[in-house]
């Protein structure tokens, strides 16, 4: 194997990662989201101080990939577990990594109240419009008309309700310091997503309240699309329903320069 000289090395495993290969499907953006978090933790020198909370969902094994202490929460309860950790160890950095079934369906109570209490936590929220791990069922975030294994004729809003916009909803709460939505569908947006993740961890490190980055993500396997058409789907169908934007940037957070 050729060893690259450091000045020629343009891409390497971030220190925040272990050497375990991820189990994610080809074309899934979980790996991108993981990498952005690992890069941010490395850049902020937070790896030894960080405790992650994994969800139930496709990212259930996230603890295998990050080189930090990790716990594995019951479905939807990651914000409650993170609250317990942060309250006894306020000088540690605590983050949850949750999908839309976990956070917006079964865990709605936990996420809303963690945000309302202004818990100094960072939440990375993966919105891919379905329950991935169980095989692509309808999630609260599934788009109207979108076919899933539990909305086989397309989500009928008359009987199955409407999508929930979590970033907009949580941004109404006074305990929230930073709450934005980004997308992982192209390099430019991935860079913007990383900056947002950095801001979220900066918010926590400064004790400025609850922070969440919602990331529009792909699920090629369950969407029945190629990776490329999945990325297009995010841009053409997810983004109009879930507009990217800064829904809450607290006054003190807005002064952070990174």
């Amino acid at each position: 194997m050729t060893t690259l000289a450091p000045n020629n090395l343009v891409y390497d495993r971030p220190e925040g990662f272990t050497e375990t290969p991820t189990h994610y499907c080809p074309g899934c953006t979980h790996g991108v989201a993981h990498r952005l978090i690992a890069e941010v933790l490395e850049e902020m020198n937070l790896i030894p101080r960080t405790i992650g909370v994994a969800p139930v969902g496709c990212a259930v094994f996230a603890y295998n990939y990050f080189d930090t202490d990790f716990v594995e929460a019951p479905h939807g309860r990651a914000p409650a577990m993170a609250t317990g950790i942060k309250r006894v160890l306020p000088d540690r950095i605590v983050f949850t990594y949750q999908g839309d079934g976990d956070l917006a369906s079964i865990g709605m109570g936990e996420i809303v109240h963690a945000a309302a209490r202004g818990e100094n936590l960072t939440v990375i929220f993966i919105n891919n419009a379905n329950f991935g791990m169980t095989g692509g069922q309808m999630a609260p975030t599934t788009l109207p008309g979108m076919k899933t294994t539990s909305s086989p004729n397309g989500r009928d809003v008359e009987t199955q309700g409407y999508p929930i916009r979590m970033a907009e909803m949580l941004a109404t709460l006074d305990g929230v310091g930073y709450c934005v939505r980004r997308s992982l569908h192209d390099p430019k947006n991935i860079r913007l997503a990383k900056k947002a993740i950095r801001m979220a961890f900066e918010t926590q490190a400064r004790g400025l309240g609850f922070s969440m980055v919602e990331l529009l993500s792909t699920c090629p396997t369950n969407w029945g699309m190629t990776p490329v058409s999945s990325l297009k789907f995010v841009e053409e169908h997810m983004m109009p329903a879930y507009p990217l934007g800064d829904y809450k940037v607290g006054a003190a957070v807005a002064t952070i320069k990174i």
Partner: protein
């Protein structure tokens, strides 16, 4: 320290504080709310963590998170709230982290009422959460005993990396009694080699209840099973009264045991040779002492504030050698000593029930007292 007048719930809260409680997470529900209220004042004044959670689900998962850091942590609730916590209890058990949960039991099922009951015995001792998991369950019968068991509950939970539940009926929680508090213990960093408290100058750690490979889960369940055998061998606790020459024995825990003691004392003054066994650990259960007693007494009477739940454990230990009678009140009704005394008189006169399940004749006997009309 001298005795002071303490309300059960507040005494439990202060005893936990003095045992080094670092974090409390709870939710209001009668009849345990004073624990939450007391700690909402006490914990912040000591610079310790207190959160009123959004639900019992939230509370138990906060406990789970804090327990993973190796902190002394507890929650408390009453029957319907404890039902909601069963998810978290199973995860805590599967992750092998120590935590204490107090259940101040009320009448059920469902919303039931807020009066004292013992009808969560099976949930605490035999079931509740999903999966194979052991748990230690302590059952105090007085405010003083509740105080003493709080300190023990944390020690046992940490020693065995296991849930320790303290179950008491609402009357012990609400009653005021003279009691002595232990000295305040300092908070100690126990430096558990499993705690996920940040990988500073050490290898990272993971805490999880996942064993995706079935043989690995089987290994984990055997590890818990082996640990449970240690608990059974070393941690059984009970109190015995007048057992030395007893011809028959009453078995009751918590308040039912305490009420039975009054009846036993009266019966003794009448010359009836009846004794009382009051389990303090209902899990691990004192099977062995009942097994031994079954070899020399003519029978047992189990008294509970439920439809006969611990009854099955007594019968398991007795193994059909002698009759096991049952007398209970349920739904939030507390028996009077005279009711137990009446049963003692019936048994002393030789009227043992003959059917396979004496809970049937008990229900028949109660027909005059308990009626739908």
């Amino acid at each position: 320290m001298s005795k002071e007048l303490w309300k059960g719930n507040e005494a439990i809260a202060e005893a936990a504080v003095r045992a080094g409680l670092q974090a409390y997470f709870g939710y209001p529900i009668t009849p345990q709310t004073e624990i939450l209220e007391y700690l909402s004042r006490r914990m912040p004044e000591l610079g310790r963590a207190f959160v009123q959670a959004e639900s019992e689900l939230g509370a138990i998962n906060m406990v789970y998170g804090a327990a993973c850091t190796g902190s002394r942590v507890m929650s408390s609730s009453s029957s319907p709230g404890v039902s909601l916590m069963m998810e978290g209890l199973s995860y805590i058990a599967g992750t092998e982290v120590p935590a204490v949960l107090v259940n101040v039991m009320r009448g059920g099922p469902g919303l039931g009422n807020i009066a004292p009951a013992q009808s969560d015995y099976n949930q605490a001792v035999h079931g509740g959460g999903h999966g194979d998991y052991p748990r230690i369950v302590l059952a105090p019968a007085s405010v003083q005993e509740a105080i003493d068991l709080m300190g023990l509950s944390f020690d046992l939970a940490e020693k065995y990396r296991m849930i320790c539940m303290v179950i008491l009926d609402g009357s012990v929680g609400q009653m005021m009694e003279p009691a002595e508090m232990p000295e305040m213990k300092p908070i100690v960093d126990r430096k558990f080699e499993w705690a996920t408290n940040g990988a500073i100058d050490r290898e990272r750690r993971i805490l999880s209840s996942i064993y995706i490979n079935p043989p690995a889960e089987e290994v984990a369940n055997f590890r818990l099973g082996k640990r449970w055998q240690e608990v059974q061998a070393n941690e059984v606790r009970y109190k015995e009264y007048f057992l030395d020459d007893a011809e028959f024995v009453i078995v009751g825990f918590g308040t039912a045991g305490r009420v039975a003691l009054s009846a036993v004392r009266t019966a003794r003054s009448e010359g009836i040779k009846v004794g009382l066994l009051r389990p303090i650990t209902v899990s691990p259960y004192p099977y062995e002492v009942i097994d031994q007693l079954a070899g020399r007494v003519s029978g047992f009477l189990v008294t509970e504030m439920n439809m006969g739940q611990m009854y099955d454990d007594v019968r398991l230990a007795v193994r059909g050698r002698v009759p096991v009678e049952f007398y209970g009140r349920t739904g939030g009704v507390v028996p009077f000593p005279d009711e137990i005394l009446g049963e003692i008189h019936r048994i002393a006169a030789g009227h043992w029930s003959r059917e396979a399940d004496p809970r049937v004749s008990w229900q028949t006997r109660m027909a005059d007292v308990i009626s739908e009309k």
